[in-house]
């Protein structure tokens, strides 16, 4: 099973034919040594893509990363308060029991669990475990299921 990804510089036009966008060629050989093009085709239009479950699992990994990036501020604030004094600890404990505090607590717990589980899946993929089409689909489903179960268990145990 090859793990290389074929990168093509052919751009498909509206009528279905493909147009070579790379450097000039002669009998398939590049005539330019500099092959890096600034106008090489990219497709990162999120609204034009199809969204199989692997893509949803992948973008969720990113979204939870951004959530954690912002969430570190809340975690540091709570930890700072709780570590400052016994009164500060009581204050932090009360904050977490407020509706907004609960939202932040469970939101961050969910994001953290997802990001770690998806990260472990990513490491497995690095070693080519489950990087077939069906393996990737199974991995995406497992990531979501494991996250929900682990978050629910941790949420009950920590609360």
């Amino acid at each position: 099973m090859p793990h290389t990804q074929r990168v093509t510089l052919d751009r498909v036009t509206a009528d279905g034919s493909s147009v070579w966008q790379g450097p000039p060629r002669l009998f398939g050989l590049n005539l330019e040594t500099e092959v890096m093009k600034t106008d090489r085709p990219v497709n990162l239009n999120l609204f034009a893509m199809s969204w199989p479950i692997m893509a949803i699992a992948s973008i969720t990994h990113r979204i939870t990363g951004v959530v954690l990036f912002v969430g570190v501020a809340f975690a540091l604030y709570a930890l700072d308060l709780a570590m400052s004094s016994p009164a500060g600890f009581a204050e932090a404990a009360a904050l977490v029991r407020e509706p907004f505090g609960m939202l932040v607590f469970f939101g961050l717990l969910l994001a953290l669990v997802y990001h770690v589980v998806a990260g472990i899946k990513h490491l497995l993929l690095d070693f080519h475990h489950g990087d077939t089409l069906e393996g990737a689909r199974m991995g995406a489903i497992l990531t979501i299921v494991v996250t929900i179960v682990v978050t629910a268990v941790l949420g009950v145990m920590l609360w």
């Binding site: 990162l44 999120l46 990036f69 570190v72 540091l76 700072d80 990260g119």
Partner: protein
């Protein structure tokens, strides 16, 4: 060749390795702290300080804080270079991306100082 001046190490391969090494450290730290919270029956200020105040935990927390900065920088840089492009945000993409990176850098700078001040207050 594009010069990746704003990536962490200016090398995609090195960033790749740093991202995974820090992920490993952060997973271990998460399990460690989670283990403490799950195993302590009556969590109070004294128990919290006793746990995070030990020299071993202080260094582990410092390592985790530094790992967070590197990991978050690479992750946010990746997201920025993927979505803050001329195709998405127009001709001013470089300026927008630079501003975005500056905000990320500032936030991470505040985070590391804040974390270190919490960790090493004892």
């Amino acid at each position: 060749m594009v010069t990746q001046v704003l990536s962490l190490t200016r090398s995609g391969l090195a960033d790749f390795v740093v991202q995974r090494a820090t992920a490993f450290i952060l997973t271990a730290y998460t399990l460690c702290v989670l283990g403490f919270f799950l195993s302590s029956d009556n969590l109070d200020h004294g128990a919290l300080v006793a746990f995070f105040g030990t020299t071993t935990m202080q260094w582990f927390s410092t390592l985790a804080a530094l790992s967070t900065v590197a990991h978050a920088w690479i992750g946010m840089w990746t997201i920025g270079t993927d979505y803050l492009r001329p195709a998405h945000v127009g001709g001013g993409a470089t300026v927008i991306r630079f501003a975005y990176q500056a905000v990320c850098l500032l936030a991470l700078f505040v985070y590391i100082l804040w974390a270190l001040s919490i960790i090493w207050q004892f």
